[in-house]
């Protein structure tokens, strides 16, 4: 899989190539396509998570809409690893012709570099064709918990030292450590792996509070959110304050983004952005997204690039202020 074009040719001409191979001849003609009649062939959409997750679901639904808009097939290929960093690195190696795209949470660029030592992406390393949905990250707890807001939780936690908090990642840990430091709380931070694990420990009353990437919205009768960890209030919980509004300046955003290799021509990006915009109003897409309770927040190519740069700067500032990275 050295070049994306080779990949597509493989599928279409496999039959002919098999015959050619039998004669001992290999080699595929790779037609370079000009940016203005883009797209002329199938597009490979990489997803940096395993099949079956929330992002994969959105990616496949998006691919379906875009494929109808662009009139070419879009093959979704899962390349899981390192929160998308493996797929992003593979994208960097692909030709910037618009035939290889990555559909991924923006965290791979705006937060992974601060968490993972060997990831050093910056927003300038890629091009962006747009963003389509946002992740509703928040602090979730049992429905019958004796607190409804972050302030009430802090008051409760002061009475109950040694409570357990479920953490999915170093960022999740950072939130509790910052709150605990500021308020003088004593927390046991329980490591979790994945959203399913999180549901398990909340429903099983193993922890009193946990960071949720949005999955808690599927359990309206069992769970509630006490604070949004994004910079905006969640569309499905408009009354719950954000972490910033609670007085801790720690809000970080992540959105599903259509990422392309550096140097992809501008007309290609705009073409993709237009096709992506169709998802915003597509009935089937809206149905799938609504079932998973994910808000649609569309950005075009310029908007996505700006959002990526802004969120990168914001996250960098937060990580520096809490000492995760050196200034």
């Amino acid at each position: 899989m050295k070049h994306s074009t080779e990949k597509h040719t493989t599928g279409r001409h496999l039959l002919g190539a098999a015959v050619a191979l039998a004669l001992g001849w290999t080699g595929f003609a790779t037609a370079a396509s000009a940016a203005d009649d883009y797209p002329t062939g199938p597009i490979t959409m990489m997803v940096g998570y395993a099949a079956g997750g929330q992002t994969d679901l959105v990616a496949r639904a998006t691919a379906k809409v875009m494929s109808e808009q662009l009139g070419v097939p879009i093959n979704v290929v899962n390349k899981p690893g390192a929160g998308g960093a493996v797929a992003a690195r593979e994208l960097q190696k692909a030709k910037p012709d618009g035939y290889t795209v990555l559909f991924q949470a923006s965290t791979v660029i705006n937060s992974a570099p601060f968490i993972m030592e060997r990831v050093d992406f910056t927003p300038d390393d890629f091009e962006y064709a747009g963003m389509i949905t946002a992740y509703q990250v928040g602090l979730a707890t049992q429905k019958d918990a004796p607190f409804d807001t972050l302030a009430e939780f802090v008051a409760w936690a002061k009475e109950n030292p040694g409570f357990s908090y479920g953490s999915l990642s170093p960022e999740a840990r950072m939130y509790m450590e910052q709150i605990a430091k500021k308020e003088g709380l004593e927390a046991n931070i329980v490591p979790l792996k994945g959203g399913g694990d999180m549901i398990n420990v909340i429903l099983g009353h193993q922890v009193v509070l946990a960071l949720s990437g949005g999955i808690h919205k599927k359990y309206p009768d069992e769970m509630k959110m006490i604070a949004a960890l994004t910079t905006f209030r969640h569309p499905s919980d408009p009354d719950v304050l954000t972490i910033d509004e609670n007085g801790y300046e720690l809000g970080m955003d992540s959105r599903t983004t259509l990422i392309l290799p550096k140097g992809t021509p501008r007309p290609v990006l705009d073409n993709l952005a237009t096709a992506l915009k169709a998802a915003e109003t597509d009935e089937d897409f809206k149905k799938i997204i609504a079932a998973a309770n994910i808000p649609i927040m569309y950005f075009d190519a310029n908007g996505a690039a700006k959002e990526m740069a802004d969120s990168y700067a914001n996250n960098k500032r937060i990580m520096e202020s809490v000492g995760i990275i050196q200034k």
């Binding site: 899989m1 990949k7 493989t10 039959l15 039998a22």
Partner: protein, 149 residues
């Protein structure tokens, strides 16, 4: 088996010690204060392996004087030859993958292993990779509608 057990016990003990004192400290950061060290689990396993290897070595050395006749080697030459041959076929196939195309690699793997296993009929050598690759293509690209590579 006894001789082989002693040898593998020594090899494993050495591997375990190298891991414990060189590779783990080199490849795993000690981790922040107040948390369970990331080194804990791998180190525990390596300590266990070194200890068990020692048990393996000594229990087999002690039994060695029962001098029962045993095969000199746990492998036959033909098995080692097969390992080398298949290794070579995979190496060629990987080279084809990296420098030519995935398809060539698949064909190379089938043809290479056919020849290595002693198949000499030209019809089989040509038809088998063609049929296999065609079947895989049909299954994944046509029936399942997924791209593999």
């Amino acid at each position: 088996m006894r001789h082989a057990n002693v040898v593998s016990g020594v090899v494993l003990a050495v591997v375990g010690l190298v891991m414990l004192f060189a590779v783990i400290p080199w490849q795993i950061d000690p981790g922040p204060e107040g948390m369970v060290s990331p080194r804990l689990m791998p180190s525990m396993m390596m300590v266990l392996i070194v200890a068990l290897s020692a048990v393996l070595i000594f229990s087999n050395l002690r039994r060695a004087d029962t001098d029962a006749p045993e095969p000199a080697m746990p492998f036959t030459w033909s098995e080692l030859a097969a390992l080398v041959k298949m290794g070579a076929v995979f190496a060629v196939s990987l080279a084809l993958y990296l420098f030519v195309s995935p398809l060539a690699a698949g064909a190379g793997l089938v043809i290479g292993s056919l020849v290595a296993l002693g198949e000499r009929r030209l019809a089989v050598i040509v038809l088998m990779p063609a049929v296999l690759l065609l079947a895989i293509w049909l299954l994944f690209y046509k029936v399942l509608g997924t791209a593999i590579v």
